[in-house]
């Protein structure tokens, strides 16, 4: 068994709002993408895996440890980039990463500074390590966040929507960086960008209303929509939008004059989210 993350029938509520509802999935070494619309429970799940939150019920195992009893052991092997991380005003890149390094129990000054330089170099920020974080672009700030997550060479890295709000060029750079990070670690990447999952991830998990509605490879996610995506001159089906070529891409029942087209990961994802409507229309 080489599952490094095991989530089994986990539920979590905030007051009357149920964020996770009997969620189960597993992940292993490599990059696993957590897909889901806003409110699906992705951030709650990431915070739970980061040991910042505790589950109301269910079982979680991270790197073989139980977060209820072995929180410290997990935190020593964890790198975590929260959604929209904030940084102390006035900190330079080096100072911020150094601050987190101290929180990660790196006591020896020289060794700690060597490690800080290493992770700053790994995310390509060596040239701006002395600059104030507030003067950096959004993409560079995200890289600062990733740098701190890589401190101590963690076995498990949690990245909560690291590519949100980035321009296409920055996203490409991020994909290269995350792919490199995932070569020898377990990386869980929360996103609602299906292109990121298709380009980066060995496995995908789709969340909807706090439940797992799919777990498999991106190719299997694409396969969910196989035989159900059509191109036609007219709008039809439940999910339908105009493409750049002027035709309509339809998911669901085949309209007249329609041509069956190969599905994308996004088609499979959309079908999972709106599958009920599509099934009803077929």
């Amino acid at each position: 068994m080489n599952d490094t993350v095991v989530v089994d029938d986990v539920s979590k509520s905030f007051g009357r709002s149920r964020a996770l509802s009997g969620l189960s999935f597993t992940a292993r070494k490599g990059v696993t993408g957590l897909l889901g619309p806003n409110g699906a429970g992705k951030t709650t799940l990431m915070r739970l895996l980061a040991t910042v939150l505790a589950a109301d019920s269910g079982r979680v195992r991270l790197l073989g440890w139980n977060p209820v009893y072995d929180r410290l052991e997990i935190r020593r092997r964890l790198g975590y980039l929260p959604q929209e991380p904030a940084y102390q005003r006035g900190f330079t890149v080096f100072e911020f990463v150094d601050y987190v390094a101290i929180l990660k129990e790196m006591v020896d000054r020289r060794a700690r500074h060597d490690e800080v330089r290493r992770v700053i170099g790994e995310v390509g920020l060596a040239d701006v390590s002395g600059k104030k974080i507030r003067t950096l672009s959004g993409g560079m700030r995200r890289r600062v966040g990733i740098a701190q997550a890589l401190l101590g060479d963690p076995e498990l890295v949690l990245l909560d929507e690291p590519t949100a709000g980035l321009d296409p060029e920055q996203r490409l750079r991020f994909r290269a960086l995350i792919s490199r990070i995932g070569e020898n670690r377990t990386v869980l990447l929360s996103t609602h960008q299906t292109e990121d999952v298709a380009a980066l991830c060995e496995r995908a998990v789709v969340l909807k209303d706090g439940r797992c509605v799919f777990a498999g490879t991106p190719e299997e996610l694409r396969g969910v929509a196989r035989g159900r995506v059509w191109q036609s001159p007219r709008r039809a089906g439940v999910l339908s939008w105009r493409t750049g070529e002027g035709d309509f891409r339809n998911i669901g029942s085949p309209p007249a004059d329609a041509t069956l087209v190969p599905p994308t990961v996004e088609d499979g994802y959309l079908l999972l989210l709106d599958g009920d409507k599509v099934e009803a229309a077929v």
């Binding site: 040991t51 929260p82 991380p85 102390q88 601050y99 987190v100 929180l103 129990e105 002395g130």
Partner: protein, 268 residues
């Protein structure tokens, strides 16, 4: 700066290995700044390991965070470097907050300097709450923008909280002592609020296991002011600062410290 002469192989090798004296080395360095040919001759002579070491030392010196004056003071007092850095980034230990605390205490002390009963009461009401406010600022969500990252780090949240609270308490007490003795010269008045301050600060931390630090601090402050107002109606130096009050403060401190200890996991 002379380029009329050039280094021969022997001089280049001696300089690269640090075998020249300081005067000759300074002369060589001045020459190297102006002479590309000699720089080219020297480069292959410098041992790679030495070059890497020197470069590491340069980057370490350039990158390393500059310790603030507060951090340097902590180091002088024997606080380890990494702990001093954690304390130095605490909001309520920044000069602006310390200055604000000093001004608040100064006004309280000046009011107390008036022989009126009101002046004494203002000082005694404000002084114990100042460390509570400092602790709230030291460890609230607003105080540390990166709190989510800090929570997921292995460093003990209880230890971090207590460290920051102790530092804030220390700074507040030092401020109050300096201001009180300078303005009032009343050692008795200065001493009576210390134990209540410790009790209220510890109670704030204990309640922070259930509530947000801002809420726990607010609740403690409201409780303190309500209790203070209730007894201050009758007494110039309220019973809260007498022997009964001091014993009660000690009890609150002990219970709060015990609660923090048994609920230490909840802080994370």
């Amino acid at each position: 700066m002379s380029t009329a002469w050039h280094m021969d192989d022997e001089l280049a090798a001696d300089y690269a290995r640090g075998r020249t004296g300081p005067t000759l080395a300074a002369s060589v360095e001045a020459h190297l700044l102006a002479c590309a040919a000699c720089r080219g001759k020297l480069a292959p002579e410098v041992p790679r390991a030495r070059l890497d070491r020197v470069w590491d030392e340069i980057t370490a010196a350039v990158d390393a965070p500059r310790p603030t004056s507060f951090e340097r003071l902590l180091r002088v007092l024997g606080v380890p470097e990494h702990t001093a850095r954690l304390l130095a980034v605490t909001s309520s230990l920044k000069p602006a907050w310390i200055a604000a605390g000093a001004v608040a205490l100064l006004f309280a002390a000046l009011a107390s300097g008036e022989t009126s009963r009101f002046g004494t009461l203002v000082f005694l009401a404000v002084a114990p709450i100042l460390p509570v406010a400092g602790v709230v600022l030291a460890y609230g969500r607003g105080a540390d923008p990166a709190h989510e990252i800090a929570f997921a780090a292995p460093y003990s949240v209880v230890r971090l909280t207590l460290l920051r609270a102790a530092a804030v308490l220390g700074v507040c007490v030092a401020l109050a002592l300096v201001i009180g003795l300078a303005v009032l010269g009343d050692g008795g008045l200065m001493a009576v609020w210390l134990l209540p301050a410790l009790a209220l600060t510890t109670l704030t931390l204990a309640l922070a296991g259930w509530l947000d630090p801002l809420m726990s601090g607010g609740a403690v402050a409201a409780l303190w002011f309500a209790g203070f107002a209730a007894v201050a109606v009758y007494e110039v130096r309220p019973v809260l600062f007498g022997s009964v009050g001091q014993l009660a403060s000690l009890a609150v401190f002990a219970v709060s410290a015990f609660v923090i200890f048994i609920r230490r996991r909840e802080f994370s």
